[in-house]
């Protein structure tokens, strides 16, 4: 089963919308259009992750999926390192031309 996550990433050509783990991609003029299009792609459940130009997650919105609770444990510096690593991995996958 494919991911239900849609990534919205700014590129030189506009706002790229890509479903994680698939080859589907579209480019929009504005972020708002890309998010609205992503929202239309799933019927009830899914999530939209909006990145900034560096790939860092600016906003993550989920629909019909349980809200992820921040863990009680862990230190801030490590959390930043982990977030950076995961963002880099996800972006590598999403922006890969082979994907």
């Amino acid at each position: 089963m494919a991911s239900k996550t849609y990534h919205v990433i700014p590129t030189s050509k506009g706002w790229l919308l890509r479903k994680a783990g698939t080859t589907d991609k579209r480019v929009f003029t504005t972020q708002r259009e890309a998010v609205a299009s992503a929202r239309r792609h799933f019927n009830s459940t899914g999530q939209i992750v909006v990145h900034d130009a560096q790939g860092k997650i600016r906003r993550a919105v989920s629909y019909g999926l349980p809200k992820i609770q921040p863990p009680r444990a862990g230190n801030h510096a490590k959390a930043m390192r982990i977030e950076k690593a995961i963002t880099s991995m996800i972006l590598g996958d999403v922006l890969s031309p082979a994907n």
Binding site: A60, L65, P66, Q69, P71, K78, A79, A85, I86, M89
Partner: protein, 204 residues
């Protein structure tokens, strides 16, 4: 003891922490996070000023739910004795539920073991509790935890969906660890919780 504020999304996780049990522990941790809950356990705080029992009783008081795995009954070959921590913590949780404030009495507990009805031979007093077998299989443990939580909160993703997410997370774990400078064989409870929650936000 100060009055505990019971958090409806917090689940006390009472499981063995050894390497043999790690696959089940991680699968349960992942399921809890995927379903929108927060796992709590004695490993979450490393505070020298807090005795272990103080820490455990405080966390138990704060959690509405508890998952207790009593499957670790093997004898330690060095001392020829089993570990009694899991049954002790289960007893504390059940005591809190039985004798606590009206809010504490609303606690709910899931007891896991490897095989069904095995507990009758070593912990027969818990007969009548919600006891399920995971068969030492992480995917089975995912389904058991999911089905138990689905009876408390609706709607929740199905067990098969969580198993598929867990397989993708497990495949990505070595890369995530390498990129964040963590040793995948020595991840702490905090590291794993962070990795799971950050991955879920960007890739579930």
């Amino acid at each position: 003891m100060a009055k505990a504020y019971v958090r409806s999304k917090d689940i006390f996780l009472n499981c063995p922490f050894d390497a043999t049990y790690k696959p089940i522990f991680n699968a349960v941790l992942f399921t809890i996070a995927t379903l929108g809950f927060r796992a709590r356990c004695a490993l979450e705080i490393d505070d020298g000023g807090d005795t272990r029992l103080d820490k455990i009783t405080r966390i138990i008081g704060e959690c509405k739910y508890g998952i207790h795995d009593i499957s670790a009954t093997e004898l330690n070959p060095a001392i020829n004795l089993p570990r009694f921590n899991m049954p002790l913590e289960l007893g504390l949780f059940l005591g809190c539920k039985r004798y606590g404030s009206p809010t504490q009495r609303k606690k709910s507990v899931l007891i896991l073991d490897r095989e069904p009805y095995r507990y009758r031979d070593f912990l027969s007093d818990i007969a009548g509790q919600d006891i399920h077998a995971h068969g030492a299989d992480p995917n089975h443990a995912i389904t058991e935890v999911r089905n138990w939580l689905a009876s408390k909160v609706r709607p929740l993703p199905g067990g098969a969906v969580i198993q598929e997410h867990y397989a993708r997370f497990s495949a990505a774990l070595p890369t995530m660890c390498a990129d964040s400078g963590l040793d995948p064989t020595a991840l702490t409870f905090g590291d794993m919780s962070l990795l799971i929650s950050k991955w879920l936000i960007s890739a579930r």
